[in-house]
Symmetry: C2
Subunit: 207 residues, 2 copies
DNA sequence: AATGCAAGTTACTCGCCAGTAGATTTTTGC
DNA sequence: GCAAAAATCTACTGGCGAGTAACTTGCATT
């Protein structure tokens, strides 16, 4: 397509370029929020790093609240996707749960996932906060369902699914606070090891 | 002492009263930070809830950064105290570890402990941030030592102590985000149940 | 050629809030 | 009684940063 590499973009291409710019803004914003914190990052800062001026951000994304909301929404969609993927996985309830958990942890070490964890609800305007909450509830519910199904088929230990959900979520959210993406440990291996500890517990098992 | 209940306070009493006021300010501040977030809480707000004016806060505590630093320092001291208490506990390494973990979780559901978790480092001025970090490192190190000792005496499963530390800390920090102190579940029982899940893992154990 | 939309810009406004100056009142120690 | 210190207030300053108005330029459409 466009074999002559003409400098005159098709409407198609223009649309794509706009999309690309939009997500570049988002990507830069989320990284800066993660580095320096939402409140310590002004839209002027973000614009400066992109080499543009603040109104450009407003042009593509709207106000600061909307920028943040979009960042966390992206992160949360990845988690929802992980939950849906896990449902379609073959194997026992425990298998589906652990595969979900691994992916959950990985997402939380990625730009947008980290932002979900590090963003405290209070930073968002009331409306956005409600949407944020609603999405988080969906993830929680999905995780709890996975847990309940695994308890039901006996592939994990019985107990309070809600509490287990909180314990697992906490342990796998936390890397958003300490994991260094530039460090030696890849998100994948870390995720797998963490899930393994949670699955087996720290008390020794007799074989 | 002071049997006549005289209205003229002794120097002793004056000192205590000042101390009481100081900690009332701190207590109110930390609660408001937890409710509405640090950046959404102005010192005027805190002063208003106490029925005083902003300069009074400066009189007792200094600037906003120092207020926050003191809040998290209190929380972290409680954790350090928990670690020291655990060291003196009789029993196996696993016993000492679990008793520490339970207390650790409880503290994180308390006003000052919650603040430690919910405060992101970026909110603090560089100097305070360093102190904050240093204290957190102490807790981490204490936890890791407890883990290593328990691994050494064989009372918990072998593995990477650092990773286990992060998993445990994450799971037990998280209640700072979801636990409702006014709810039906007491911090103590919640802490115990969480630690139990972490100890045993979610995979079924024989017998 | 005229119109209009898209993508930027510069240069503002405006409110909030941390922090302070300085007055005022009470307490206390001599 | 008097000077100094403690505890508090009212009333300000100053800066930062979100959000906007209004211009520019270029391309696209009829």
């Amino acid at each position: 397509m466009n074999e002559l590499n003409s400098p005159f973009p098709t409407p198609q291409q223009r649309q794509e370029e706009r999309e690309a710019k939009r997500s570049a803004v988002l990507r830069t914003a989320v990284q800066m929020f993660n580095e320096r914190g939402f409140h310590q990052t002004s839209l002027d800062d973000v614009a400066a790093r992109l080499g543009v001026s603040k109104p450009t951000i407003y042009h593509y994304l709207g106000n600061k609240d909307q920028v943040l909301l979009e960042c966390v929404t992206i992160g949360l969609s990845q988690l929802i996707a992980a939950a849906e993927a896990a449902r379609g996985t073959p194997g026992s309830g425990a298998d589906r749960l652990t595969s979900f958990l691994r992916r959950y942890a990985e997402v939380n070490m990625d730009d947008f996932g980290r932002c979900v964890i590090r963003t405290s609800e209070e930073a968002l305007a009331p409306d956005s906060r409600q949407q944020f909450r609603a999405l988080k509830r969906r993830i929680d519910a999905a995780m709890r369902t996975l847990i309940e199904e695994a308890m039901a088929d006996g592939s994990i230990a019985p107990g309070d699914p809600k509490l287990l959900g909180f314990a697992l979520a906490g342990a796998l959210n936390w890397p958003a606070r300490w994991h260094d993406p530039g460090g030696p440990d890849s998100a994948e291996t870390l995720a797998a090891s963490l899930v393994d500890w949670l699955a087996r517990g720290f008390l020794p098992r007799r074989r």
